[in-house]
């Protein structure tokens, strides 16, 4: 059952869109009509209900993160939205065109790829782009060179794609998605298989697309990627929307800090008076404070004559924690995985 954000123990979540039992109400787009919506979208494969009455909304101009654990139905939803598979029930609206009913019209405004982008291996990058691009409409050689330049493949434009690395193919996939300057770009794990530099470049590109007004629908298993790049996000699990809202809203506001003073016993009393509970770890006092409360805490400690030696974040409560909190109820597997840091902060790579 979807977890109500308000009841989440992860800090003080803001009221994002209401995750009802089956159909969370769309949060509404401030800037006008949404560019992508799903209405009771469902897909059944035999006995498996892969997508269960999914309602979500992507606003024009969003860089929209699409998150979910393995098997949540992310790729299935993308395939449904792009008309690769047919819904069992419900429909999507893409650029004001109903899918699957008006699929061709919708696809005129969309670029992207699902799973790994693949190309004809014996053709050059340029010829591949020419071939795929011509399916949407006339495409100039200048535009082909332009998108190859964007993804830094211009110097390999005439090389056979069969000799390209995985990362180069990912970049070429983005290039073909950009060819017709679509209003909506759907990218399914575009940084998958890229080295750190490549990941950074792709994220910068996605950001710049968003800044230029292009809506990007980004499916990713990299939670920090969504945190860094996206303006809004949805988390799905078992084919249902668990929560959707702005990334800022999804990120819990609580912040645990570790405090070291000259007199920890006295400091503990002060902090208890301020925050109720204080934990101790490795000589530090740990308290859950809001960002604004940290300054007030320090002022009170100093006012009480305490020599404040260190105030450091103890545990940054990020989207990953929130994600795990939201989805762990449905997991039948082992308990919450051990927290990792840096590039290790990824979910398992397998697609949903």
């Amino acid at each position: 059952m979807p977890k109500d954000v308000a009841a989440s123990p992860a800090g003080e979540p803001q009221p994002v869109s209401r995750p009802g039992d089956r159909q969370p109400a769309p949060s509404g787009c401030a800037g006008g009509a949404p560019i992508l919506t799903t209405h009771g979208l469902s897909k059944r494969f035999g006995d498996l209900l892969a997508v269960d009455h999914l309602d979500m909304e992507v606003c024009r101009g969003d860089v929209f993160g699409f998150l979910g654990p393995n098997g949540a139905g992310k790729t299935t939803v993308i395939r449904l939205v792009l008309g690769l598979i047919h819904p069992t029930a419900g429909y999507a609206e893409v650029c004001s065109h109903r899918v699957p009913g008006e699929l061709q019209e919708a696809l005129r405004h969309v670029g992207g790829f699902v799973d790994d982008p693949t190309f004809y291996p014996l053709m050059s990058a340029r010829r591949n782009l020419r071939l795929f691009g011509s399916m949407t409409g006339p495409i100039s050689e200048e535009r082909i060179e332009e998108v190859l330049e964007i993804v830094d493949l211009l110097d390999r434009a005439d090389d056979r794609v069969g000799g390209f690395s995985h990362g180069m193919k990912q970049r070429l996939g983005i290039a073909q998605a950009l060819l017709h300057s679509p209003e909506l770009i759907v990218l399914d794990e575009p940084t998958s298989g890229l080295d750190p530099r490549g990941m950074k470049d792709v994220r910068e590109l996605i950001r710049s697309l968003g800044e230029a007004g292009t809506t990007v629908f980004l499916s990713s298993h990299l939670l920090h990627e969504v945190e860094q790049v996206c303006t809004r996000a949805v988390i799905i699990n078992k084919g249902r929307v668990v929560v959707q809202g702005t990334v800022a809203e999804l990120r819990p506001k609580s912040l645990a800090v570790k405090v070291m003073t000259g007199d920890q016993r006295k400091a503990a009393e002060t902090l208890r008076g301020l925050f109720g509970s204080v934990r101790e770890d490795d000589g530090y006092l740990i308290v859950e404070v809001g960002e604004e409360a940290t300054a007030e805490m320090v002022r009170r400690l100093v006012a009480d004559g305490l020599d404040v030696r260190a105030v450091v974040p103890a545990h940054e409560q990020g989207l990953e924690d929130f994600f795990l909190e939201l989805t762990k109820e449905d997991e039948s597997g082992p308990a919450r995985p051990k927290r990792r840091s840096g590039l290790g902060r990824v979910l398992p790579v397998r697609r949903s």
């Binding site: 696809l107 790994d116 399916m135």
Partner: protein, 300 residues
Amino acid sequence: MNGTVPPVSADLATTSSVGHGSTAAVMRGAHWGPLRREITKLLFQRRSYVIWAGAALVPFIIALAIELNHGGPHGGEGPQFFSRVFSNGIYVAPGALTVLLPILLPMAAAMVAGYMLAGEAELGTLRIILLRPVARGSIVLTKWFAAMLYLFVGLVLMVASGLLFGGLFFGLHPMVLLSGTTVGVWHALGIIALACLYGLAAMACIVSLALLFSALTDSSLTALIASIVVYIVIGVVIQFSYFDWLKPWVFPTYLEDYLSFFRDPIYWKPILKGLEAFAAWSAVLTTAAWLLFRRKDVLS
């Protein structure tokens, strides 16, 4: 990725509603026709050339073997036309058609059409194609025409090779038809062309069958094998008199009726019956492929 992103992004912003960036630029790439796209794909597959090479090689081998053997198979045995090649090179092309029509051409048809959808699914390009605003029905039809065009080129290569090597080894002379009438070289070439087109029409059935299997499966090899198995099974079944009632309804029955072109006057009745059967089988199978592909969930 390089630092040129912001200007291009600006371009994206300004052209987003149009959906066709740089439309003002000179369209050197022009608009590629769907058929041209499919042909381009075929030209960028090595297997395409293997089949074409085979089609061109068979007439050469026939001509060479007969030259080295100082004559065709003895006692009038062997494939049709072979015994006449030694005296007239113009028989090499119809002789090659006799050899290719029941084996290599169906294989080529099954291979090229079997790959058309299933191969793209295997490669992963099908999902890229389907993200473009192209109707699935038109994709199926375009692929059918591309496969037919591919086979047509194969037949042209076979005839050209037959005439070249037949002419080189034995010279090209007026042709004596199966009915005993002698016709000039150009007339004979016309008859050979008609016979080849009839063979091509027969192959339309295999193309449609393979396209159907190609729509059913995501494995081009499975589509190829399934098509050939169906073709062979039908061919075997109609050999037995018990199944004589079936013969008028299955296309392999009419495969050898191209020989009716080599009579004077041309015996049109079996030809037209054959063409009817080919058209009906192709229409039914291609429609089935189209309907299946339209509703197919592309999960590859």
